[in-house]
Subunit: 334 residues, 2 copies
């Protein structure tokens, strides 16, 4: 008998099939090539003039917009939002609109075109984490911006258009729907219990163990109880902080290891699937929240999501999280 499960963070019910559970080999494979083509690309060293001028780079004495960097952040050449202008909020009868003000940036994670994120050293992944924090802290100074989405699409099927490994950020003058939902439900939970739902979740999952993938002193990697997608995976810090940008040195170093291990497990079990990686954090301009808790979500692209799911917000997941957690735990590399 399938089970209906409710996610405590979004109040969303999901059907989890338990009868004919789909195992890793049952999904249509769409593997991301292990060795990129190596073609010279605008993200490669020596091609710096082919991107807009950098807004951040980690380099060893070399000049801006020249080779010699280990990580580089540049505005997206085809941004979905523009940074110049006023919001000009206005109504049109029933409707509300504003100018598409915001930032859209690309984090070029390494100069080496041939590496994917899981090939990077832990030190290099830690740099990516620092670049996320540095950009968020900078964008926070712009009072028009209310949210920064940090994300990575890996593989063409997950929406990556350039193969040179990179992450992205989109800074928005609004809070995205899914984050707002989490804030609302977590806020109601806090009103009721005076505890953070994510802190409770981490405690319960660690006691139970069935959905745990990796556990360190600072982070827990788990398959959520009511996942929308097979092998949906969350990385949750054990210490309560609502804002990602409060991350400290010890956490960043540990997160680099945890993230690399998690992605390597996913790549091993699912044979290099396309995936998206997202950071959920509290809105940029708000004070620390006792009820919200930043975390990362990894969504491998394994199933076709049709208009049905978009149109209803209703998900049917063929793989119970207890099974995906077991596959990932047993994959080693942890």
């Amino acid at each position: 008998m399938p089970e209906l499960r409710k996610d405590p963070v979004t109040d969303r019910w999901v059907i989890v099939s338990t009868d004919r559970a789909r195992r890793p080999g049952d999904f249509v494979r769409n593997p991301v090539p292990a060795a990129p083509s190596g073609r010279l690309c605008p993200f490669c060293p020596g091609q710096e003039t082919r991107t807009p001028p950098e807004v951040l780079a980690y380099r060893n004495g070399s000049q801006q917009n020249q080779p010699g960097w280990s990580l580089r952040v540049v505005p997206n050449k085809f941004p979905v939002l523009g940074i110049e202008g006023d919001l000009d909020r206005e109504g049109e009868g029933l409707f509300d609109k504003m100018q598409g003000i915001g930032a859209h940036e690309v984090v070029i994670e390494t100069p080496d075109h041939l590496l994917s994120m899981t090939d990077l050293s832990e030190r290099a992944i830690e740099q990516v984490i620092w670049s996320f924090r540095d950009r968020v802290l900078d964008l926070k100074n712009d009072g028009r911006l209310r949210y920064v989405l940090l994300f990575k699409n890996h593989g063409e099927a997950a929406g990556a258009t350039l193969e040179h490994t990179h992450s992205q950020l989109i800074a928005l003058p609004v809070v995205p729907k899914r984050v707002q939902e989490e804030m609302e439900v977590a806020g109601r939970y806090f009103d009721f219990k005076e505890r953070c739902v994510f802190c409770d979740l981490v405690r319960q999952e660690m006691k139970d163990g069935a959905r745990i993938v990796i556990e360190t002193d600072l982070f827990v990697v788990l398959e959520p109880y009511a996942p929308r997608f097979p092998f949906e995976t969350w990385i949750v810090p054990r210490r309560h902080h609502s804002h990602f940008e409060t991350i400290d040195g010890q956490q960043a170093q540990n997160l680099a290891w945890v993230l690399k291990s998690t992605l390597r497990k996913i790549e091993k079990v699912l044979e290099r699937p396309p995936y998206s990686l997202l950071v959920h954090t509290a809105p940029l301009q708000e004070s620390p929240k006792p009820f919200y808790h930043w975390h990362m979500e990894i969504i491998p692209k394994l199933t076709r999501v049709a208009g049905f799911e978009w149109g209803t917000g209703f998900y049917i997941n063929p793989t119970p999280p207890e099974e995906s957690a077991k596959f990932l735990r047993e994959a080693g590399l942890g």
Copy 2:
């Protein structure tokens, strides 16, 4: 400059690109074959024993589960929910779950394997609409069920696994997230204005005209102001009713014409794209609502939706609805 627009029915902000708007020819084509293979399938006449026994059929005197039908509704052979048993709601610490009780049925829209929905006569499409109503009225008698999702996935890329034209219904013991959101936001609007937001929307859109595709005495077809996807199209009845199953003979007849015309326009402009069609209606066991208004949503599958959109609930739409409405209006066939 791109625009940020808020959908008045879900309070969701969407980025609508206006600079480099994508036109019909700019999307990757994934056309649904115009002529199906014709291979004998379990939905064809003579194959009735290959499906579970029918729960409804429109036939001319012939026997149950025998040929001679013009439309047939059967339980899905691989249902995502089971109809037998108790809900057994229970908690597991933080978590909530219940048995996967519900119905999953298939509406075989015509005996003719070679026809797609737009090839059907208006009379045959009207039959599909009646079958939707008849099944909803029957399932309403089961007090465990709180919602019936009526939908159609057309084309493999939209999730259809059998080519013989069919729709589906899933009856659930919970209300899906997206419908709950619409109910909440529309409810708040009603508290504030004492008017239905959909009725206001229809009035405003008809006055404006820019996003209208088809207008009859009983229905309006429009591109919503803040669509998540290019060529997202809604069919809204002009008369206020919260529940789809209140549809009357005049409306069903007109809807058959409107639906066929709309789908033919979409097929012409976008070259037979895969699409999903959904009915949004008020929860099954609830009384008529002055603030909610049933409608249909059509979502052509034109773009790749990555984990990013799922993970954030944030959508970037490259085609302004004013442009898609114009393409559809000018396609004729209305």
